[in-house]
Symmetry: C2
Subunit: 149 residues, 2 copies
DNA sequence: TTGTATTAAATGTATATACATGCAAATGCT
DNA sequence: AGCATTTGCATGTATATACATTTAATACAA
C-alpha cells in the first residue's frame, strides 16, 4: 500500500524525503509484528537481538561494549539490557580477568533453549512480513546497504 | 557498507531475514542523524512529525486520534506528545464543541515558524543521508510500499 | 612513579514506546 | 427514558532510547 495513503499525506517534496519516512514507517510495521511474537516469551526485540549476538560467539565470552557495537541500535544501552537478561537467567556476567574494567557476557543453556524455541517462528514470520519475491528482496537489500554509504 | 560487516554478523539465513534486520538497522541510522539535527531546537523526531501533520491541516483542527492514525509509529502516544508540544507553545488544544470526548488540536504561529526554520535543513539532510541516485531511490520506495502489502 | 588522560561499564534523567486500564461522553437498543 | 456498549482521550507501568555524568581500571607521559 502506498505510504501516502497509509499516513494520509498528499505528497512528499521528493523521493528522498519520501524514502526517509518510508523507512521509518516500515520499521514500525515490522517491530509491531515482532513485539507480538516475542511477548509470550517475555522478551523484547532488542533483548532477542542481544541473545542472538551472544549465540553467535559459539561459547566465547564477549564484552558489553562489543555487544553495543553489534546492536542494531547504536545508542541503546547494552549494560541495562544485559542486566535484564541476567535477571531472567538467560546470560552470565563475570569480571574479565585480563582487564577488570571489562565484563564478560555469555549466553546460558536456558538462553540457548529459548532462542531455539523462537528461531523457527521468527524466520517464518520474517518471510511472511516481507511481501516481495526473491528478486525484489535481494534488490531491497542491495539498495539499503548502498543507501548508508 | 554491507550490513554483515556493520554489525559483524557472518551471514543471514536468507534474504528475507537479512531484509528485516537491514530495515531496523537503517531506521536507526536515520533516526540517529535526525536526533542531532532536532536537538538544538528542543524537538524529538516524533514531535516534529506531529507538527508536520498539524501543518498539513492548513488551519483546520484535528483530533488526537486522527493524529495517532497518521503517525509513523502506530503504537505511539499522541496524547502525551501533544501535551509536550502544548507546554512549548507549539500547539493549541481545545474541547471539540460537537463531541466533548474529542479534543481539537491546532498548530500555533510559533509552531509554524519553528517548522519553517527546520524544513530546509531537514530536506537537505534527508537527501544527503540517502546515498542513492534518482532511479534507485524511486525503486526503493516502490519496494518498501510493496513489502508491506 | 606520579599525575593525566583514556577506556569500560554503570547510573541518572528525560523522552518515547507498548500496552493495559480508567473515565466520561456519546451511541444504540429495548 | 434507562441501561449496556462503544468511543475518545488520559493515565499508569514497564521497557527502551538518547545522552550526560560518574566511577573504577588501565595506559601513558613527564
Amino acid at each position: 500500500m502506498r505510504l501516502e495513503d497509509e499516513i494520509q499525506q498528499k505528497e512528499f517534496k521528493d523521493d528522498y524525503n519520501k524514502a526517509v519516512v518510508n523507512i521509518l514507517f516500515t520499521q514500525s510495521y515490522i517491530v509491531t509484528k515482532q513485539n507480538s511474537l516475542f511477548k509470550p516469551f517475555g522478551l523484547s526485540p532488542e533483548q532477542y537481538n542481544v541473545l542472538r549476538i551472544l549465540r553467535g560467539q559459539n561459547g566465547n565470552p564477549i564484552t558489553v561494549s562489543s555487544i553495543q557495537d553489534r546492536m542494531l541500535n547504536k545508542m541503546s544501552n547494552a549494560s541495562r539490557l544485559v542486566e535484564k537478561l541476567k535477571q531472567k537467567g538467560l546470560v552470565l556476567r563475570e569480571e574479565c580477568p585480563v582487564d577488570r574494567r571489562q565484563v564478560d557476557i555469555m549466553i546460558t543453556e536456558k538462553g540457548l533453549q529459548l532462542l531455539n524455541q523462537l528461531q523457527t517462528e521468527i524466520l517464518n514470520q520474517n518471510i511472511r512480513l516481507i511481501k516481495l519475491d526473491n528478486e525484489e528482496v535481494s534488490q531491497l537489500n542491495f539498495l539499503l546497504d548502498k543507501l548508508r554509504g
